[in-house]
């Protein structure tokens, strides 16, 4: 078990510098663009919500973009993910069509789940996104089964299973990591650690320093990573991918980051200070990655901002289109429940 004590910084650490050289420019550009798309998607979602165009709740991952993108960037196209209520980031990183996704957010018939799922349950099964669950920790046992199928079918595919810091206190986390470890399943367990489960800071609900220490209970590798450094995330997850793909079983990767927004729309943010939020805003993973790309000579400032602009345009366009889509009709809902 490796436990890193991450210093969440604003510049790129040495290993990231190396990746900056090794990764193709297009890959790095892809990563930046996805991160920007996530940010703009969520801002748009929030805006639509405030304007009363969305019925229901939503969970924004603004501030956590590096975790979703850095991890999913390590995957091959045929690899899979399963994730959770704060799932817009994973969905976009896994290559969702932005309009179809926005349509689902708006509850429209052409949405990914035909408006039945909404923000908390976006799945794009052909795209390898096996869906988001709204039950904290609820996707982790399902992940065991998905990875079991991958193993039994002798594929090369792996699965990334996402959940929050709070989810690691659920019994399902324990049962699932143990089972996956026992069977050496091709899955990487990724904790999107934004330090809070609703109002509860991690230090109030567990007596350990790093969530990755929990890997010790299952005899699997565990690592805590600066989740605001997209390249550090990439590096750690890639190693865990290889571990899984080569038949050595699961790992637990703890991606330490922060959610800027409230837990959901009902949050009055009483459990943390405005200063704390501000501090983390200064560690913005997008601004930081842009700087790293410019400092590393990968792109010019103009190029970087061009990508940002492209992302913004894509989201604006997706929302505009999705808003014109038709609503689903309630006839015959019973017929949808069971497969023929």
């Amino acid at each position: 078990m490796t436990v890193l004590t991450p210093e969440i910084e604003t510049a790129a650490p040495p290993s990231s510098q190396r990746l900056l050289k090794e990764l193709p420019r297009e890959k790095l550009a892809w990563m930046l663009q996805r991160m920007c798309e996530i940010r703009y998607f969520e801002e748009k979602a929030e805006d639509l919500y405030i304007r009363g165009q969305v019925h229901g709740t939503m969970h924004l991952s603004i501030g956590q973009e590096a975790a979703s993108v850095g991890s999913i960037a390590t995957l091959r196209p045929e690899d899979l993910i399963i994730h959770h209520h704060r799932g817009h980031g994973h969905t976009i990183a896994k290559g969702a069509n932005l309009t179809t996704m926005m349509a689902e957010f708006l509850g429209k018939e052409p949405g990914y789940c035909r408006g039945r799922g909404g923000s908390m349950h976006i799945a794009d099964i052909p795209g390898g996104n096996l869906g988001a669950t709204g039950v904290v920790g609820g996707g982790i046992p399902t992940a065991v089964g998905i990875a079991l199928a991958l193993q039994m079918r002798r594929t090369d595919q792996i699965l990334l299973s996402y959940f929050g810091d709070g989810a690691t206190n659920e019994g399902e986390f324990h049962e699932s990591l143990n089972m996956a470890s026992t069977w050496k399943l091709p899955v990487v367990f990724i904790c999107d650690n934004n330090q809070y489960g609703m109002s509860m800071h991690v230090t109030k609900v567990m007596n350990i320093q790093h969530i990755s220490e929990r890997a010790a209970s299952y005899g699997i590798p565990g690592q805590s990573v600066d989740g605001n450094d997209v390249l550090a995330v990439y590096e750690a997850v890639l190693a865990a991918d290889e571990h899984a793909r080569s038949g050595q079983g699961p790992s637990l990767i703890d991606l330490m980051s922060y959610r800027w927004r409230g837990h959901s729309k009902s949050d009055r943010n009483l459990y943390r200070t405005p200063q704390e939020i501000d501090e983390w805003k200064h560690k913005c993973p997008i601004r930081r990655f842009k700087q790293v790309l410019v400092d590393g000579g990968v792109m010019t400032r103009d190029e970087v901002e061009g990508i940002d602009q492209t992302a913004k345009t894509a989201i604006d366009h997706a929302a505009e289109e999705a808003l014109t889509f038709p609503e689903p009709s309630p006839e015959n809902m019973e017929a949808e429940v069971y497969a023929p």
Partner: protein, 333 residues
Amino acid sequence: MTANTTREITYLEAVREAMVQEMRLDQEVFLIGEDVGTYGGAFGVSKGMLEEFGPERIRDTPISEAAIAGAATGAALMGMRPIMEIMFMDFLTISMNQLVNAAAKMRFMFGGKCSIPMVIRAPSGSGTGAAAQHSQSLEAWFVNVPGIKVVAPSSPYDAKGLLVTAIRDNNPVLFMEHKLLYRMKGPVPEESYRIPLQSAEVKREGRDLTIVAYSIMVPRALEAAEKLAVEGIEVEVVDPRCLKPLDVDTIARSVSKTGRALIAHEAPVTGGFGGELAAVIVASEAFDYLDAPIRRLAGRDVPIPYNRTLERAAVPQVEDIVAAARALAQEGK
């Protein structure tokens, strides 16, 4: 049994007031659940309680629904009176072993030598756009578990009086709070009072037809009754309030009078509590007075959808009750 007061508060405030008053009276009562402290509960029910009672008695927990249920069960076994809040009723799926195999059975299994005085507060129901995993009404499960009582109040007055009784009850009581009722206002006396659990209430008198409804379906049935009155159909609305133990007499008396029974609930019709209601009505003296079959108007057999139109269509609305009651009032005539 209506409020002898002019003060109006919300259902949510009524729930809170019952807890606060009982906690002031009795050190052994405490609240335990996720984010019940600083956050004040996901729906704000416990807002302000941390300030009055401190973190020991307004106890925030890790996200661990099995252990929360165990913590309540074990404390109750020791004679305390825990109120456990589950954030959404849907997550009782994680607490089932503790509630069903421990809390409900311990007394009987140990020869009657202990008791488990605890309340399980569970926000239930759809209507908030929270989709399939945050909108369920799982009362039918608990009704079929000997050892657990089930309460589902439909008004602020009932919520307070029934919750006080539930807290004082020496058994595990599931207390369902419908999310859409939280903001409903109504008269509630400031002082503490109790409503016996096994006491259905006739919420509206009528001669043509009985609607047996609970939780959110009561205000909807009452609204439907107003509309039907305009058409000359006089509906009686009976609210069991407590699903187990059930006050069969009040229901049977009403159905004997009207000769027609429409059962309304939000949970999916198949296997819902409406079946139990139908069965007890049929088995009662009311059977001989039935002028038409008992009808059930309940949730459609689907998970609750996200989209607002679909979500509304998945469970009975006022207009559905009007239509079903109107049809039943004519049936067999």
